[in-house]
């Protein structure tokens, strides 16, 4: 009797989880489906779900009209560049905060996080002017720099939480074994923190890949990433749903595939420390 009830419970929970997953995934699914419709069908009411004339013409047009590969390359440079640089700064910073904290460390962490609470638009004008005057507008260096600064607090926070889980005595043992600070980080801390560093890297590549506020406002063509590529399909002459969907699908495809293959790592990263 009790077993039957727990079985029913499990079925219900599983069904609910699938439903929730479907709801979350639906916009992406709809976007992918729309990208295979004609513009006319994309607008039709009631919308057709699966039974329409599947077509690849949107992808053809999008590829003809704009250079997808260049945008994608820019996205790769900006997303990976900013994340790798952020890690280079964040690993020592998080090390210091986790293993050599002072009275002010907590305040510092909160202060860093507070920068994420300000709406980005509040800093747009000064940053735009700074970028303009120093010739950084629409440049890779400028975009890597701005995304690095935006994501640095999150990278430091994530690494700090991972490092906190590593017993300090192990690092002290390395020090007693004659390791210098640099060797202690390279041979002992980093290998132990590999899962944490990997999921931080993944999450921040995804964040940087999808970042659209700064990329849209500070780039035009040379350094424009895939977010700008998508935006170019919402034109003043009206929205082209099917083409916009095709462009969006192409833009998220690489990161979706990366996310798919690393989902275990990502989930571990996001729930790390929450459950022991």
């Amino acid at each position: 009797m009790a077993r039957q009830r727990s079985m029913r419970r499990r079925v219900t929970i599983t069904a609910l989880a699938w439903l929730a997953g479907f709801i979350v995934f639906f916009p992406i699914l709809w976007m992918i489906l729309t990208s295979f419709k004609t513009e006319l069908e994309a607008f039709s009411t009631p919308p057709s779900f699966l039974f329409f004339d599947w077509t690849l013409e949107n992808y053809g047009i999008v590829q003809e009209r704009s250079n997808y590969l260049r945008y994608a390359m820019n996205s790769v440079i900006i997303a990976f560049g900013s994340t790798l640089l952020a890690l280079l700064i964040a690993v020592p910073a998080a090390w210091a905060m986790a293993f050599a904290p002072t009275k002010r460390t907590k305040d510092l962490l909160l202060w860093m996080l507070s920068t994420k609470m300000m709406p980005a638009v509040g800093a747009l004008i000064p940053i735009y002017l700074l970028f303009r005057d120093s010739g950084l507008l629409d440049s890779h260096v400028g975009m890597v720099g701005i995304l690095l600064l935006i994501n640095l607090p999150i990278v430091i926070w994530m690494l700090f939480t991972y490092f906190k889980e590593i017993p300090g005595e192990i690092l002290e043992a390395a020090r007693m074994d004659g390791a210098t600070l640099w060797r202690e980080i390279v041979y002992v801390l980093a290998p132990m923190a590999v899962p944490g560093i990997a999921s931080t890297l993944l999450l921040n590549v995804i964040l940087a890949w999808n970042e659209s506020f700064w990329t849209l406002n500070l780039t035009t063509s040379k350094a424009a990433p895939l977010t700008a590529f998508i935006a170019s399909y919402s034109s003043p002459e009206g929205l082209f749903w099917a083409k916009l969907s095709a462009a969006s699908t192409m833009a998220i495809a690489p990161i979706l595939i990366l996310g798919w293959f690393s989902q275990r790592q990502l989930v571990r990263g996001l729930t790390f420390g929450a459950v022991k």
């Binding site: 005595e169 007693m176 074994d177 060797r183």
Partner: protein
């Protein structure tokens, strides 16, 4: 060589002074145990010697050289931690070899030294395992192996046995003592367990609230504690303390007598009491006796004794073995 001398060593964390001022001489090859209740500063003192904490003031001289501002990696000391602190991502072999690699020793020398240490510590079959695949005792041996291959000036042990079960603890205690005999390197050992301190040490340093209460050989501390704290801390079971009329009779504020120095029997100055309970260890019997005007006395009777609760009992305190203490708790020597 491994002579360590502390002069006016102080340590404060912010406004809190943990170690007011300590002077201590540790001779080359000595086995010194820091013992005291938790929070007495013994681990902090060890970490100051190791260099894992910075001193607030004073000198730490290793073989004549002041190392108070030298990083731990340059002090030439090895440490064994309570949690073992093995590198979890490295094999036992690499754990032991790490210090040698950091010192830039050639590979053949490393292999040779690791093999020798592994043999000494019975770790040869486990060299390619990861620490998580080992038992507590084996992990402790790896930690010791890691310490000995570096041939340090001194070994520092921070409560290394407290994570082990009782039987293993006794065994590892013997192994560490044997290691000290064969290496004759200076060892500083921190523990809160006075039995470990008594059995292992050449010299015991009793610490309380960051101060050295007494330094001496185990037997010296047992026979001649300088104050109430040391008297109560060294020896198991604890020394009995008596105040009041009985203490007055010996012209002291407090008199102390160890359980093994209270005899059963009747005489003119015997004290009468009632048995509260008896602990039977086989080799000894500990009888807890309630004595009117004196309080509770613990009596150690060799062998087996059939003491029944609530039965009357008569005790003789050996006057030659009495310890007398004055108002401030200091020992009165005659």
């Amino acid at each position: 060589m491994g002579e360590i001398i502390l002069r006016n060593v102080t340590k404060s964390f912010g406004d809190v002074t943990v170690i007011p001022s300590i002077d201590l001489d540790i001779g080359d090859g000595e086995f010194v145990v820091f013992v005291g209740p938790s929070g007495c500063g013994k681990s902090t003192l060890l970490r100051l010697i190791a260099g894992l904490e910075d001193t607030t003031g004073g000198e730490i001289r290793i073989d004549g050289l002041d190392v108070a501002h030298t990083p731990p990696s340059k002090r030439g000391l090895s440490m064994v931690f309570q949690s073992y602190a093995l590198y979890p991502h490295m094999s036992v072999r690499n754990n032991i070899a790490f210090g040698l690699k950091m010192a830039g020793e050639p590979k053949e020398v490393i292999d040779q030294k690791v093999a020798k240490a592994a043999q000494t510590l019975n770790l040869t079959p486990y060299l390619d395992r990861k620490p998580r695949q080992l038992s507590g005792g084996q992990r402790q041996r790896v930690a010791i192996g890691r310490a000995i291959v570096r041939e340090p000036k001194a070994f520092l042990f921070d409560e290394p046995l407290s994570n082990l079960d009782a039987a293993l603890r006794v065994q590892m205690r013997l192994e560490i003592m044997q290691l000290h005999q064969s290496l004759s390197t200076t060892m500083i050992y921190v523990t809160h367990d006075q039995v470990e301190a008594m059995t292992m040490a050449d010299k015991i340093v009793v610490l309380n609230a960051g101060r050295v209460e007494q330094v001496g050989s185990p037997v010296d501390l047992y026979n001649h504690p300088v104050n109430l704290f040391v008297a109560g801390f060294i020896g198991s079971p604890k020394m009995n303390f008596i105040t009041g009329k009985l203490a007055d009779r010996y012209r002291a504020k407090t008199v102390g007598i160890r359980p093994e120095h209270v005899k059963l029997g009747d005489s003119a100055d015997a004290v009468k009491g009632t048995v509260r309970l008896a602990e039977h260890l086989g080799s000894d019997t500990f009888i807890h006796v309630d004595v009117p005007d004196v309080g509770s006395l613990n009596v150690r009777v060799p062998g087996q004794h059939d003491a029944q609760p609530n039965s009357p009992i008569s005790l003789v305190l050996d006057p030659a073995k009495l310890h007398r203490f004055d108002d401030s708790g200091l020992s009165i020597r005659t």
